[in-house]
């Protein structure tokens, strides 16, 4: 059986990759995918803990997160499409007219 720590480390790595993706990538879709990666790393952590505690409640939580993430994905895609319609680009750095 794979020890808990392996999952946690993998989760942390995925989370970091996701966070760095948001910061380094310029494409809105890619940034959004990176956020999804972060959410899923949290999911993985949850599942690992749920198995450790031998509970289902952690897994139920993951269900909810997945649904929420799906809704978020839908809204996010819609917003990105609207952006594309307005500006003909999905480059995040080009949608930066609001600033100080």
């Amino acid at each position: 059986m794979v020890p808990l720590n392996y999952y946690l480390i993998l989760g942390a790595l995925l989370f970091s990759v996701g966070a760095l993706g948001v910061i380094l990538k310029r494409n809105l879709i890619t940034m959004f995918m990176s956020v999804e990666l972060m959410l899923n790393s949290a999911n993985l952590t949850f599942l690992a803990f749920a198995r450790e505690w031998n509970q289902v409640s952690g897994q139920v939580l993951v269900f909810f997160v997945m649904v929420v993430a799906a809704a978020e994905a839908a809204v996010g895609l819609a917003i990105v499409i609207a952006t594309y319609k307005n500006r003909k680009t999905v480059n995040a750095d080009e949608t930066a007219s609001l600033r100080d």
């Binding site: 269900f63 649904v67 799906a70 839908a74 819609a78």
Partner: protein, 109 residues
């Protein structure tokens, strides 16, 4: 030990394939396969925005169904109450479906 085997295996397999297969690359063979029809444009073109809308709607309705699995597993325990609960849940989904339909999001313009 195991990790070495695991790392070695794909390398060996790919190398073996490369060495053993016949080298007969020509133009037709490298072309994307479109059921025998000559491809007209580059495959990496932009999709119609319609696909995205369908995709968005699909994602939502698809993922909602994961709630059906745990429900089905313990359906016997939940009995009538569970049945009504699931009806409410599906009812809300169907409301959403009606909304989408009436809004014309399912039309292919």
């Amino acid at each position: 030990m195991f990790i070495f085997v695991a790392l070695l295996l794909p390398v060996v397999a790919l190398l073996a394939g490369r060495l053993l297969r016949p080298q007969m690359g020509h133009d037709t063979k490298l072309r994307p396969y479109e059921c025998g029809v000559e491809p007209e444009t580059d495959a990496r073109e932009r999709y119609s925005v319609r696909y995205y809308i369908i995709a968005i709607l699909f994602v939502i309705f698809d993922v909602e169904t994961i709630f059906l699995f745990p429900w089905a597993v313990i359906y016997d325990k939940l009995a009538l109450f569970g049945f009504i609960e699931m009806l409410v849940f599906l009812g809300i989904l169907i409301f959403g479906y009606i909304y989408v339909w009436k809004k014309g999001a399912l039309e292919w313009v």
